[in-house]
């Protein structure tokens, strides 16, 4: 159905206030001027401009393909893009040009979206900081925001801006940074344990993890096949709904997508929340949760209560086992999924050629970083015949218990769960790297990863700025395939909190009205 809402950039494009080419060029210029963020691994300038040109032709004929026609987007570098390098931020796939587009990429292109480039990530999506890829770490744009700088000035010593920057979170940090810094209007990430919602929270953008099986994974280079989903990053909830509408639905190429027909929906403007039941899971008051975020969470709960919604404390008793369970299942699938990287058919191949085995070993040692290799070793250990029952099967059973926790709570009448997304605001890079990837992942995934266990939809909505001037987000978790309800509630919340726009010098410098107003931050 035609959207009733006035689509800002889309209508600007429609009305000729700005052309797709101009829009594309501005985004490309902004990418260049924000290069220090290291959000992009590959910028596909030529093809993007060509796509913009095609889009322009359609607009001039009055025949745009849809709301996404001419809209610049970015895609995490673990999605296959035909003709454009796909690296997964790994030496193993440096220079790898895929011959096919991931289904979600194809769908966006079919809608006329303009693919600006591939964004940076933790190597093979393993990590929670976007710091462990071969192209270096991604910098959170908020590190350079006026809001953050103002708060840092109050610190006693003047440190070099260079060493003060904060991380984006991960592993879809590049996509989150790209959206946050206005270089694109929407970006694809992936979410296995929180990899879309975590950086969304740290970068102050909307990060949607859809229900498992709703969106095709064909062409998404897998981390954990039974938990991965493509994630959607945008600057507002309405935009996320539009992108979801263009991506969801059965894909014959992915046997884990549901067969039911998906109907794209319009998000109603919810005014009456009195029929809503919000659950507050007590286990999400996790050790290490910052006082700030705890307070914000409480405030949000009150917001719903005061607006007439039913807000109750609920319990998800197996939450505390989810990290360990995730560790076993994730590493086991990683060990399996990475077995194909042997240097024979594609990707890096070592010069070592004394024997096939030695070539495999050298190729994989050279191609994978420590994080990947560590997970492969762990995973293989858990899959050994003598360990399988005690680790893998046990973890599957615990996974079932975790999923059942959610089912019970939803069956008791709760519609949506409200939780924090992260334990704190974004850490400075220098702090973050003091602990290893595994430790950080275990810490940071705790609030997001149960949703992946249960396959449930979840969304981060930016809620407020922290004392340090950095974004804090809150998470809503919904019932399976009830994205419409989830996003409706998220949109209502977004409207209430009025999260501030990032005050970024580079963005301001790019003159046009399109970027300066709060509403124009979105395309829908």
């Amino acid at each position: 159905p035609e959207s009733r809402v006035h689509l800002q950039v889309s209508s600007a494009l429609k009305e000729g206030q700005i052309t797709p080419t101009e829009l594309c060029q501005r985004c490309l210029a902004l990418i260049k001027s924000t290069k220090f963020l290291n959000a992009y691994i590959t910028v596909a300038e030529e093809t993007a401009l060509k796509q913009a040109e095609e889009s322009e032709k359609r607009y001039s004929k009055g025949q745009p393909l849809g709301v996404l026609d001419g809209i610049p987007i970015a895609v995490k570098d673990n999605f296959n893009t035909a003709g454009i390098e796909t690296t997964c931020a790994s030496n193993m796939l440096k220079g790898y040009i895929s011959p096919y587009n991931a289904t979600v990429v194809q769908k966006l292109l079919d809608q006329g979206a303009v693919l600006l480039g591939k964004t940076n990530l933790d190597e093979f999506a393993m990590g929670s900081g976007s710091t462990d890829g071969v192209f270096g770490p991604v910098r959170n744009p908020w590190s350079y925001s006026r809001q953050y700088k103002e708060k840092s000035l109050s610190k006693s010593h003047s440190e070099d801006e260079e060493s003060n920057w904060v991380i984006t979170g991960g592993s879809s940090g590049g996509s989150a940074a790209a959206v946050s810094s206005f270089t694109c209007f929407a970006a694809l990430g992936s979410d296995t344990g929180g990899s879309t919602r975590n950086p969304a929270a740290h970068c102050g953008v909307v990060g949607l993890k859809p229900t498992y099986g709703l969106i095709s994974r064909h062409g998404l280079i897998p981390l954990v096949n039974s938990m991965d989903v493509p994630g959607i990053l945008t600057r507002c909830v309405d935009d996320a709904a539009v992108v979801l509408g263009s991506l969801a639905g059965h894909d014959p190429k992915d046997s884990t997508t549901i067969q039911d027909n998906f109907k794209p929906f319009e998000l109603p403007d919810l005014t009456d929340v009195s029929k809503l039941s919000i659950g507050i899971p007590k286990e999400y008051h996790a050790p290490g949760l910052s006082g700030e975020i705890l307070a914000l969470w409480s405030k949000a709960a009150d917001l719903f209560k005061n607006a007439g919604a039913k807000v109750t404390d609920v319990s998800l008793p197996h939450t505390r086992y989810s990290i360990v369970c995730y560790h076993v299942l994730c590493t086991a699938e990683v060990a399996s999924n990475m077995a194909r990287f042997d240097g024979l058919e594609y990707g890096h191949r070592s010069d070592m050629n004394k024997s096939t085995e030695s070539m495999y070993a050298a190729t994989r040692r050279e191609g994978f970083n420590d994080v990947v290799r560590g997970r492969i070793l762990s995973g293989n250990y858990f899959l050994l015949k003598q360990n399988y029952e005690n680790y893998f099967i046990k973890a599957q059973k615990v996974r079932r218990l975790i999923a059942n926790d959610f089912l019970k709570v939803f069956r008791s009448g709760v519609d949506i769960l409200l939780t924090p997304t992260t334990l704190s605001d974004a850490a400075p890079y220098m702090e973050f790297i003091k602990e290893d990837n595994r430790t950080r992942s275990a810490q940071d995934d705790i609030l997001t990863q149960a949703a992946n266990m249960a396959g449930l939809p979840a969304i981060n909505v930016p809620a407020a700025l922290s004392e340090r001037g950095l974004p804090i987000g809150l998470q809503f978790i919904g019932r399976s395939f009830q994205e419409k309800q989830l996003l409706t509630v998220a949109k209502w919340f977004e409207k209430q909190v009025k999260f501030p726009m990032i005050q970024l010098e580079e963005v301001k410098r790019l003159d046009p009205g399109v970027f300066q107003h709060q509403q124009s931050a979105s395309f829908s």
């Binding site: 190429k253 699938e333 399996s336 077995a339 594609y346 293989n380 050994l384 015949k385």
Partner: protein, 463 residues
């Protein structure tokens, strides 16, 4: 010396006859240019996912039903991990936990006795049938120290048929495999031609004394024909017996059959035993099969496999065909056995019967004793026979009408083999082989013979 009981089990891989592969849309074709039938999924390009081929499922269900198996209404797929150049993903998708069919049996016949005239029926239990991917092919080029990998075969659908150790010798193993081959070809689920790699057999062999537990078994691979299967199994049984009688032990190892030397040799040793780290295949939901009872009313017909529907459409299996031939034509079971055993022979026989007045149980003699032995002598298949069914029928008609004798008929047949295009009648006329019916003429001939051999006659009269 105490007697030895040999025990033989078989693992048979039959390539499914289908247009495309088990989990991808690339074509299945023998002897295509290297790497010309490889989809992105077959090459294990990152991000590709398996999509189950319905025809392969149907082939496995058909085969399971023909082997009297229980078809599992829910079965699962697993990953079996190992590194090898012809296994691009580093794992094979197979069915380890719950395969598609279990607990069946196969009956086969053997000729035993002095003149191989007695036919006995044996049964071997079928443990299970599982669907799995075939691997690619590697060709080792030792001169250039390289391995050439062809992925055309990678991902082709296989049915692995596991036969319990109910067989006792090479002959039984060969007969069981032959029967399985005929069944698969009748069903069309596999063309099962061993020479084209469509049917591969590994044998598990052990020996023990009666009343004692089973001995250590070895696995014998690299068997390229049914004949070699019998040889390999018998050799291995002998080898184990000799080894044990000399006080040695049998290692639980894999051995390769060397067809030139006619023996089994240990295969290149892999350090320790392989742990395949089996894991459920996360990209394939459980496979649900339906029957008439469980089929939901408004299910999309394209999306389901109905076991009962398949059962109703199974063709006559070889055992049924043989029984029908015996009943219809009054031939012996041994005859029908040989008829089905030779590709095209049944058809040939039935064509001859249709075109002649001779009784089928007389025709069968000509088919099995004359035609078949000639074909075997010259290593020809029935299809390549220079004597067509019509020609043979014509000849047999002459014999039936008593226009020639049986001996003459054999002479004519010998001429027909030359394939010079002459009809039986032409040959008879040419060689003056007509039977003389006229009594007077016969008397004259006999008298002439007697007259020409006076001495011999006198000797005979004197006694």
């Amino acid at each position: 010396l105490a007697p030895w009981v040999p025990v033989v089990g078989l693992e048979i891989h039959a390539q499914i006859s289908s247009n495309s592969k088990l989990f991808s849309g690339s074509q299945v074709q023998f002897a295509a240019p290297p790497n010309s039938l490889v989809s992105f999924f077959d090459a294990s390009l990152p991000g590709t996912l398996p999509v189950l081929n319905r025809r392969c499922v149907e082939a496995a269900v058909m085969t399971g039903l023909a082997l009297n198996c229980s078809i599992n209404k829910k079965c699962l797929f697993d990953r079996k991990h190992y590194f090898y150049a012809d296994l691009p993903a580093g794992y094979q998708i197979t069915q380890q936990r719950v395969p598609i069919a279990v607990n069946g049996n196969l009956s086969y016949s053997l000729c035993i006795g002095n003149k191989m005239s007695q036919m006995v029926t044996r049964t071997v239990r079928i443990k299970q049938i599982q669907l799995e991917q075939d691997s690619g092919k590697s060709l080792h080029d030792d001169t250039r120290s390289q391995t050439l990998v062809d992925l055309n075969r990678a991902g082709v659908g296989l049915m692995e048929v596991v036969m319990e150790p109910d067989m006792c010798c090479g002959e039984e193993a060969a007969a069981a495999v032959r029967e399985l081959q005929l069944i698969l070809q009748t069903l069309g689920s596999s063309q099962a031609v061993m020479a084209e790699g469509q049917l591969r057999v590994d044998a598990n062999v052990s020996v023990h004394h009666p009343g004692e537990p089973y001995g250590v078994r070895t696995e014998v691979k690299n068997i390229n024909s049914i004949r070699y299967l019998a040889k390999a199994v018998d050799y291995e049984i002998q080898r184990q017996i000799e080894e044990l009688e000399n006080g040695g032990t049998i290692l639980n190892e894999t051995r390769a059959f060397d067809s030139k030397l006619g023996c089994t040799v240990p295969m290149r040793d892999k350090e320790g035993k392989q742990d395949y780290r089996f894991m459920p295949e996360p990209n394939l939901p459980p496979l649900i099969l339906y029957d008439a009872k469980s089929l939901p009313a408004n299910m999309n017909h394209q999306q389901v496999v109905n076991i009962d529907w398949i059962h109703e459409r199974l063709p006559d299996l070889p055992s049924v065909k043989r029984a029908k031939l015996v009943e219809q034509y009054g031939i012996l079971p041994e005859h029908s056995f040989i008829l089905l055993n030779e590709d095209g022979l049944t058809e040939f026989f039935e064509n001859v019967v249709r075109q002649t007045q001779m009784m089928p149980r007389k025709v069968i003699g000509w088919i099995l004793n004359d035609l078949l032995s000639y074909l075997k002598q010259h290593s020809l298949t029935v299809k390549e026979s220079p004597v067509s069914s019509s020609l043979l029928a014509d000849l047999l008609n002459l014999l039936e009408k008593k226009e020639i004798s049986a001996a003459a008929a054999k002479q004519v047949l010998a001429e027909l083999w030359k394939g010079e295009g002459k009809t039986p009648l032409e040959i008879v006329k040419e060689k003056k082989l007509e039977l003389i019916q006229d009594l007077k003429e016969l008397e004259q001939i006999c008298q002439a013979v007697i007259d020409g051999h006076e001495n011999e006659v006198i000797m005979m009269v004197l006694g």
